[in-house]
Amino acid sequence: MAVSVLIPTPMRKQTNEQDTVEVNPGTIATMVKELAAQYPGIEKRLVDDQGELRRFINFYVNEEDIRFLEGKETPLNDGDTVSIVPAIAGGC
């Protein structure tokens, strides 16, 4: 088993239109590195020029926002699901 990552529509050009990809266990930070190695162009989408996760993207591990967990250092274990979701949605 591995970690499943759900890719949002505006990022699927970088993943050859795949809506789910797999990475090895680790953390959100290692996931970003692994995705960057597998899918050229995706890193710029995920992190800004300072290397910080972009503020208009929310990351969820098993449906919990990583800002309520350990942020970039949130651990990812076998079988976990990460959702990458554009932050600009909603409004009651």
């Binding site: 759900l6 949002p8 529509t9 505006p10 050009k13 710029k44 989408r45 800004d48 972009r54 503020r55 208009f56 993207i57 929310n58 969820y60 449906e63 926002d65 800002r67 309520f68 959702s83 979701v85 554009p86 932050a87 600009i88 949605a89 909603g90 409004g91 009651c92």
Partner: protein
């Protein structure tokens, strides 16, 4: 003639053609509609607007639609009420209530955003519309979908007030009650996104939805005699209304339509109002955080219980840029706010309006408003939808028999003596 040039990313400036898309492919920033100002400047006049319909569509020239409205033709142009008695309690002479509690047809400001989003949905060719909602948007999307003959899917948290649920089901919508809070409902909808080919009012149609709120600002200025007020207090959830109200006022200034505008900008200070139990925006402003921290909502003000606001950054920036401030209030103060507006102005607002009125009170007591300055309180929803929040907290009826003796006896009781 097309008055919309396209869309532009608010963060990085990348431009896109006008489509049902809401985020930038490069940086995920929010897309905004780009109006053709060359076409508008010097041509759109007060007279032209004043001759328009008594609805939000009198500002058609400034809204991102190509044809005439096809749903929600009667939305908007709600009363701007001079609140003499409320103002007097705080020694203020020019307090106004912008009363969207009586917006047509579903009694909240959301009718503005939906009229625009569904008119746009029709232009894009959608037959099914959807939204994630804390209630008011649900009511409005369901009603306007019925009016326009769209299918609708409405996603709500499963703990909403009866009035909000019944007031959605009645229009024949498909209502999905999700176990979880609004932020969870919203994440689900963002993930479902374009899977089903629906026009999601607050996702892929979000830039158009957002622009509907500009009309709240346009109307305030026109109703004040083409003047931008000194202060506006606005409830925040996603943070869109406060930002777009300010944007609307600035657009009128750009067009030279304001008495008190000019190249220095408008005098208006924007104030964000939230409940303490869900205050990511007001906390960031008060604590001077650079970016807001999401929260897990816990408040009776369910309509504005968004812990992870999409336009949080823009709302914070709007308040800072305008020189305004922010406050948050407890659930007890929310109920007090509802009562205060009811007892002084005869207006029954929902919990969001209770938040706004209570925050107005707090800001007034902190001395933010000058005696003669113009203060507008944004009342965005109707009290009949959130009865649960005040039931049992407003005193009780006095029960009597249908005869004069019983009446006379009742009038002797302490409670009723004052009224004799």
């Amino acid at each position: 003639m097309p008055k919309v040039l396209g869309m532009r990313c608010r963060e990085c400036g990348e431009e896109y053609p006008m489509n049902p898309i809401h985020v930038c492919e490069l940086c995920f920033g929010p897309l905004e509609v780009l109006l053709d100002w060359e076409l508008l400047e010097g041509k759109l006049t007060r007279e032209k607007i004043e001759k328009g319909p008594k609805s939000m569509w009198r500002y058609w020239d400034l809204l991102p639609v190509e044809g005439p409205p096809t749903v929600g033709r009667n939305v908007g142009f709600t009363p701007l009420v001079k609140a003499e008695r409320l103002g007097r309690e705080f020694g203020l002479k020019n307090v106004y209530v912008k009363n969207d509690a009586v917006n047509h047809p579903t009694l909240s400001f959301k009718d503005r955003v939906v009229a625009l989003a569904l008119t746009k949905a029709r232009e894009f060719g959608y037959e099914t519309v959807a939204c994630a909602s804390t209630g008011n948007l649900a009511n409005s999307v369901a009603a306007h979908a019925a009016e326009g003959g769209f299918h609708s899917y409405i996603f709500i948290p499963d703990n909403l007030e009866q009035g909000k649920v019944i007031g959605t089901l009645v229009y024949g919508a498909n209502v999905l009650a999700v176990s979880g809070n609004y932020d969870e409902v919203n994440r689900l909808c963002a993930e479902a996104g374009d899977k089903y080919g629906w026009g999601f009012v607050n996702i892929n149609l979000r830039p158009y939805y957002g622009d509907g709120s500009k009309t709240f600002g346009y109307e305030i200025a026109e109703q004040l005699g083409w003047k931008a007020p000194d202060h506006i207090v606005t409830p925040c959830a996603g943070g869109s209304l406060i930002s777009k109200t300010y944007k609307g006022l600035n657009e009128l200034n750009r067009l030279g339509l304001l008495e008190n505008g000019g190249t220095e900008g408008i005098p208006t200070k924007m104030y964000a109002a939230q409940a303490k139990g869900c205050s990511p925006i007001t906390t960031a402003i008060k604590e001077k955080y650079e970016i807001f921290r999401p929260q897990k909502p816990n408040t009776i003000a369910k309509s504005i219980a968004i812990g992870n606001p999409a336009d949080g950054h823009i709302a914070i920036e709007t308040v800072r840029k305008s020189g305004g401030w922010a406050e948050d209030v407890t659930d007890e103060e929310v109920v007090e706010g509802i009562r205060l507006l009811g007892r002084t102005e005869g207006i029954f607002t929902e919990t969001a309006g209770g938040v706004t009125t209570a925050v107005f009170k707090k800001l007034a007591e902190q001395g933010h408003f000058g005696e003669n300055e113009t203060v507008v309180i944004s009342i965005t929803g109707n009290g009949l939808k959130t009865i649960e929040a005040v039931a049992g907290k407003l005193g009780s009826t006095v029960h009597i028999q249908p005869n004069l003796a019983s009446l006379a006896e009742a009038l002797q009781t302490e409670k009723l003596l004052a009224t004799v």
